[in-house]
């Protein structure tokens, strides 16, 4: 298959756009790691969460208090809160939290494994103003259940997806972590999704972080990685399902064919997070050594305005395999979560020349 042609002018324009967005640094996507409890024990979990977390759930009132300065700064409906975990549906007050967020002018959504997402919960959440959902589905039934460690997990995730996909006005996508066991199932999984009326699909690879760092069989080999990118590019050309590669890495010659836009890691530029212990960071899967403050001691907006330099100026990433890479200006060292600490080289390069 032919890869789409590189577009140097568009890439140049994009770099100007990215530089400008970095300078404006508007916080419009905020994760809330509301719990560390989880009802599954997935082999690839990036957060290393547990069924009975030793860290208690964060009281919603503490999070809401931290949002006050955001509410003052940004117009209504311009900030979206991504509620994540652990498994957010384990919180019984989830709908009440969402409803209050909506009343305060925030849009909100959840990232879920779908285990507890039934029709009653769906109605409750939609009525509370839920605007977006991501459900994980990591292969066909047997593979998904193996990875998730639960015999019911595929069936329940699929039920959740059917409910979500058939609700007008609700944004959603299904995410699939591609690994050595499911790479051969992608075509069949695509048909399965389409047969169930599911049209938005995002593919990831599994980063060597969290629980996945000790399991080599979950990482794709280099040829498999290219096979996955080719699958995405071909499926996009086919046009039957809206498929994208996640924003986890710069892909070199596949940049034009695998996403709607170029790779841009917005951690600390547009994306922030409040973690379970009140820590202020960017995406929750970023190493905790990058924490910039804590809502129990600091003002969220002050931290956002005055810190996060390590994510906004990424020259320090020019080391290891990136040191002499001619694509660095386009890639900027890959995604933040692929760096164990500041000054350390990227864990994995996804570039194909």
């Amino acid at each position: 298959m032919k890869t789409p042609k590189r577009a140097p002018f568009k890439r140049w324009l994009f770099r100007i756009f990215r530089k400008n967005e970095t300078a404006i640094r508007e916080l419009n996507y905020l994760f809330w790691e509301c719990t560390w409890r989880c009802n599954l024990s997935c082999r690839h979990c990036g957060s290393d969460c547990q069924s009975e977390a030793h860290v208690p759930d964060m009281p919603f009132i503490d999070f809401l208090r931290a949002l006050k300065p955001l509410e003052k700064r940004y117009p209504r409906d311009t900030v979206i809160i991504a509620i994540t975990g652990g498994e957010p549906l384990l919180r019984k007050d989830l709908a009440a939290c969402g409803k209050t967020l909506r009343e305060h002018g925030f849009r909100w959504g959840i990232v879920t494994n779908g285990m507890l997402y039934d029709e009653a919960r769906h109605r409750e959440l939609v009525a509370a103003g839920l605007s977006s959902v991501t459900v994980s589905l990591d292969g066909l039934e047997e593979t998904h259940n193996w990875l998730r460690g639960h015999p019911e997990s595929y069936r329940r995730a699929m039920n959740a997806l059917r409910l979500i996909a058939h609700t007008r006005g609700l944004n959603y996508d299904v995410v699939t972590c591609v690994h050595q066991r499911n790479i051969g199932e992608l075509t069949q999984l695509k048909e399965e999704l389409l047969a169930n009326g599911i049209h938005n699909w995002r593919l990831f690879t599994i980063a060597p972080i969290g629980r996945a760092s000790s399991n080599d069989t979950l990482q794709l080999t280099r040829p498999q990685l290219e096979e996955m990118l080719q699958f995405i590019a071909e499926t996009r050309q086919e046009g039957r399902i809206n498929i994208t590669f996640s924003c986890e890495a710069y892909t070199g010659k596949y940049e034009e064919g695998t996403r709607d836009s170029y790779f841009f890691c917005r951690a600390g530029i547009n994306i922030g997070s409040v973690l379970i212990d009140g820590s202020i960071s960017a995406c929750p899967n970023i190493n905790r050594s990058f924490v910039q403050g804590n809502i129990y001691q600091d003002d969220l907006m002050e931290v956002w305005d005055n810190k996060f330099q390590v994510m906004r100026d990424r020259e320090w990433m020019r080391c290891g395999p990136c040191a002499k890479c001619k694509d660095f200006k386009q890639c900027l060292g890959g995604a933040m979560h692929l760096h164990p600490t500041a000054g350390q080289p990227v864990l994995r390069c996804y570039k194909f020349s």
């Binding site: 994009f14 967005e21 836009s261 841009f264």
Partner: protein
């Protein structure tokens, strides 16, 4: 110092507006964190409601899109609101309901379909209910 900051900020906003308006890169603004859900885009539907017979604007009508009430028409018949954009290429079910009873005249409920591309400039016509009907 503050003036320089302000000029710089203005320049950045102008550049952003240029990108948003003239380039084919609108998608650059709708991003999603790698482990987060899609944020969608917020569309701002707006329009005006007229009396089908007289052509006069009608006040006090509630406008609903995809089942979500978005606004009530003002004295010039205008309405505006925010709505999550979902399937951008599909048409949209629009309902107009008289919620103030006879205060600004009594109007029949309107149930119609508007193309997504026309959501920001809707012109809707409602039938007045006469006392004898």
């Amino acid at each position: 110092m503050k003036i320089i900051e302000r000029i710089r900020s203005k320049k950045q906003r102008i550049l952003r507006a240029i990108f948003g308006t003239f380039s084919a890169t609108a998608l650059m603004f709708t991003f999603q964190a790698c482990y987060g859900m899609p944020p969608g885009t917020l569309i701002q539907p707006r329009g005006q409601v007229f009396d089908a017979e007289t052509g006069e604007p009608v006040e006090g009508l509630q406008v609903t899109l995809w089942g979500n009430p978005i606004d009530t028409t003002d004295h010039e018949g205008y309405f505006a609101g925010n709505l999550e954009e979902f399937y951008p290429n599909l048409d949209c079910r629009v309902q107009v309901v008289d919620i103030d009873s006879t205060e600004n005249g009594l109007y029949e409920r309107l149930d119609t379909t508007v193309y997504a591309s026309q959501l920001q400039d809707m012109e809707l016509k409602v039938q007045r209910l006469h006392e004898d009907s």
